[in-house]
């Protein structure tokens, strides 16, 4: 059945569109972008007056915990959390149990996603067998079975020689290598950003250098191998300076940051009284770092926003800070925290959509992030004025671990179309 979406402001950064348009979709695909009110025969009319319509949001960095940690999250609950966060496509990391380092696990994840029948789920395969950083995983086979990129995320590949080979190998079939940039020798034992705040709290610190040393290495390897390299969860000003210079030189490298790095700082650890929901890896950084991240989101040094959705059960968080699991359940707050930057006039709305849809789709090379005719009808509809308060008990995710509890936010996805199928989020 053809559907025509009427009355919204259409933002599609890939086509340079940011104006009132109607959208005609048919059989799960975009048929045409129409002038407002343009007559269409035989189509169901859907009124979106006062709302914003964008290509479906894409989150290339989530942890769905299945198989192996189903008490933290499942593919189905993660997919539902993604949907309610306004996403139509997500990629999930390989650090499950067993690790997604063989096609059977890839197939299993895809089957769970088909059964859930919500957002599009794209598995990311492991770089190394068992995430051990010793031998390459069967990347070509993983790719054949549906993996869209490779990462040992959660852990760095400490062996530079192995990382070089991974880039060369995956480069041959043009799949992205996603690095978790952390030098484990520099971060060892650390649980928060290393600074006067960690000193005061008596918590072991992770210096910015732990990230930056690895960012520098990955830039050099990307330059050497010409592979498609992406850096996960960039959190420091120094990393951004390295990336800015690399991009000016024309190195083929992209990177992401996450809402917690542009919203919070290390002071959240102190102000929350050691609440382990503020523990995340890399750690929340300084105000200088936060400002640098925001500037880099605006100027293009950072290519995309990813949630690094890392759901945990309560028992993994209601313990000593130093013993708690790292990570934030982020899918359901990501868009609203991005919109907060728009409200604060730090980002244009169209740039936010580029960061959350156009670019992430390109980085993992999926058919998404654009509403050109014949693209899949994956559409996010946003009410910029809807006010809401973060309450983890209402999360669809099993992970209630958020440092944003009680925060008042404005703007939320209200509808998502996935392959033309409408999901109302009320």
């Amino acid at each position: 059945m053809r559907q025509v979406l009427r009355g919204a402001r259409l933002i599609d950064p890939g086509q340079g569109i940011d104006e009132p348009k109607d959208l005609l979709i048919d059989r799960g695909r975009v048929e045409a972008i129409l002038k407002p009110g343009e007559k269409v025969s035989e189509a169901r009319e859907i009124e979106l007056d006062g709302l914003v319509m964008t290509p479906g949001l894409v989150d290339i960095h989530t942890h769905l915990r299945e198989p192996g940690y189903e008490w933290k999250e499942t593919v189905a609950t993660g997919a539902e959390a993604a949907l309610y966060g306004g996403f139509s496509s997500i990629a999930c990391m390989a650090n499950t149990d067993p690790v997604n380092d063989n096609p059977a696990v890839t197939e299993y994840i895809l089957e769970r996603a088909r059964l859930a029948d919500l957002v599009q789920v794209y598995p990311i395969g492991a770089i190394s067998k068992g995430l051990k950083g010793e031998e390459l995983a069967e990347m070509a086979s993983l790719c054949e079975h549906g993996c869209v990129g490779f990462s040992d995320d959660g852990k760095p590949v400490m062996d530079a020689g192995l990382m070089r080979r991974a880039m060369e190998y995956a480069g041959a079939f043009d799949r992205v290598i996603i690095s978790h940039p952390e030098d484990e020798n520099l971060s060892a034992g650390g649980v928060m950003n290393e600074s006067a705040v960690s000193t005061e709290l008596g918590l072991q610190g992770v210096p910015a250098a732990a990230e930056e040393a690895m960012v520098a290495r990955e830039i050099i390897l990307a330059e050497m191998t010409h592979a498609k390299v992406h850096l996960a969860h960039i959190s420091t000003k120094g990393s951004i300076e390295l990336l800015r210079r690399a991009k000016e030189r024309g190195v083929r490298i992209t990177c992401e940051s996450c809402p917690h790095y542009f919203t919070l700082t290390e002071l959240a650890v102190k102000q929350s009284g050691y609440n382990a929901n503020t523990r995340v890896n890399p750690p929340l950084r300084s105000e200088d770092d936060r400002k640098a991240i925001i500037a880099a989101l605006a100027d293009g040094t950072i290519d995309c926003i990813a949630s690094d959705h890392a759901p945990h059960n309560l028992a993994a968080k209601e313990v000593e800070f130093a013993a708690a699991a790292s990570g934030i359940s982020g899918l359901e707050t990501s868009l609203s925290l991005g919109l907060k930057l728009v409200q604060e006039k730090k980002l244009k709305l169209s740039r936010l959509i580029e960061l959350m849809s156009t670019n992430p789709a390109k980085i993992i090379g999926i058919e998404a992030g654009s509403l050109k005719p014949d693209m899949p009808a994956d559409i996010t509809v946003i009410d910029l004025d809807r006010k809401w308060t973060v309450a983890s008990k209402n999360f669809k995710s099993l992970g209630k671990n958020t440092p944003f509890e009680g925060m008042e936010l404005c703007g939320q996805a209200v509808k998502v179309f996935i392959r033309g199928k409408l999901f109302k989020l009320d």
């Binding site: 600074s195 006067a196 000193t199 709290l201 610190g205 313990v319 000593e320 130093a322 013993a323």
Partner: protein, 311 residues
């Protein structure tokens, strides 16, 4: 006077007046320890739980004696493992203990922040008996008490805290306490053991001990944690004791009335040579003795004695 805090989490939260008030209370309790019958009925009917998540002999004994001399019922709850390894969350532990209706919790933990986390979860007042590398406020107070007793003042004194500042909760509490009472504090140690931004707590930083010796009134020597694989932070105890240990020979350069302190237990021959540890400048045993008086005062104040004290 009434303290502004319900729980004693650290000296950072206290004002100068509050610290002085606690020290005065401690002075009035000290005399009890010299009586033939060392017991007063002050806290009769009160229940205190010593909740120790980390092995401790001296601090636990000191708290236990302090409680018993005030006639409180003192119960020791030792849990050497972290709650995570037991599969129990901190909130479980806290709620279980709270259900037994104690009047005060004394908490020692290997991990920084545990007393603060617990204080958010329970309504019972709580005293931090040392948490990770964060604070050890009762040690800080007994150090202040000891210096004040010997020097009759703290204002204007020069204090050096020597050693593993990075991992020391005593250093942090001492910095806050001595600074609030008007002393000048310098932390001294190998560069790897001086944590970043420590100056923001109000102290100076030095990397060489000997040049400081002539001007210091107090030398607070911290314990080096040899058992914690310190080889990545400094080359070994021989080199450490040469540059940061105290011998009689080095003390020749110190003031005639310098006080040598140590929170214990001493690695003899590393931080202090035996002659220094047992010598005339050492007030290490005064610290231990005063610890009981300070903790009696704290138990009294945080166990509901505060209202009585204000009247």
């Amino acid at each position: 006077m009434k303290l502004s805090v319900k729980s004693l989490l650290g000296l950072r939260e206290l004002t100068r007046e509050e610290i002085e008030f606690i020290l005065e209370q401690a002075a009035s309790f000290k005399e009890i320890n010299y009586r033939p019958v060392k017991k007063v009925p002050t806290l009769r009917g009160k229940t205190i739980i010593n909740l120790f998540f980390e092995p401790s002999t001296r601090t636990k004994t000191s708290f236990e004696i302090a409680g018993k001399r005030l006639s409180a019922d003192v119960v020791n709850f030792s849990a050497s493992q972290s709650s995570l390894t037991k599969g129990e969350t901190l909130s479980d532990t806290a709620r279980n203990l709270e259900a037994m209706k104690p009047d005060l919790l004394v908490v020692r933990a290997q991990a920084s922040g545990v007393p603060e986390m617990l204080s958010r979860l329970v309504s019972t007042p709580l005293i931090n008996a040392g948490d990770g590398c964060h604070e050890h406020p009762t040690q800080g107070l007994l150090d202040l008490f000891t210096v004040r007793e010997r020097k009759q003042k703290i204002d204007g004194l020069k204090i050096a805290i020597v050693g593993d500042i990075r991992n020391s909760r005593v250093a942090r509490s001492d910095i806050y306490g001595f600074r609030k009472l008007g002393a000048e504090v310098t932390v001294v140690g190998p560069a790897t053991m001086i944590p970043p931004g420590i100056e923001e707590l109000g102290c100076k930083v030095a990397y060489h001990l000997e040049p400081l010796l002539p001007e210091m009134d107090v030398l607070m020597m911290l314990r080096i944690q040899l058992e914690r694989g310190s080889g990545k932070f400094f080359p070994g105890s021989r080199e450490y004791s040469k540059f940061f240990g105290l011998s009689l020979k080095k003390l020749e350069r110190a003031k005639a009335d310098v006080l040598i302190m140590h929170p214990g237990p001493v690695n003899r021959g590393v931080e202090l040579s035996p002659e220094v540890a047992d010598g005339p400048f050492s007030v290490i045993l005064d610290q231990v003795e005063n610890g009981v008086a300070v903790r009696m005062a704290l138990l009294y104040l945080f166990c509901g004695g505060m209202d009585a004290a204000s009247s």
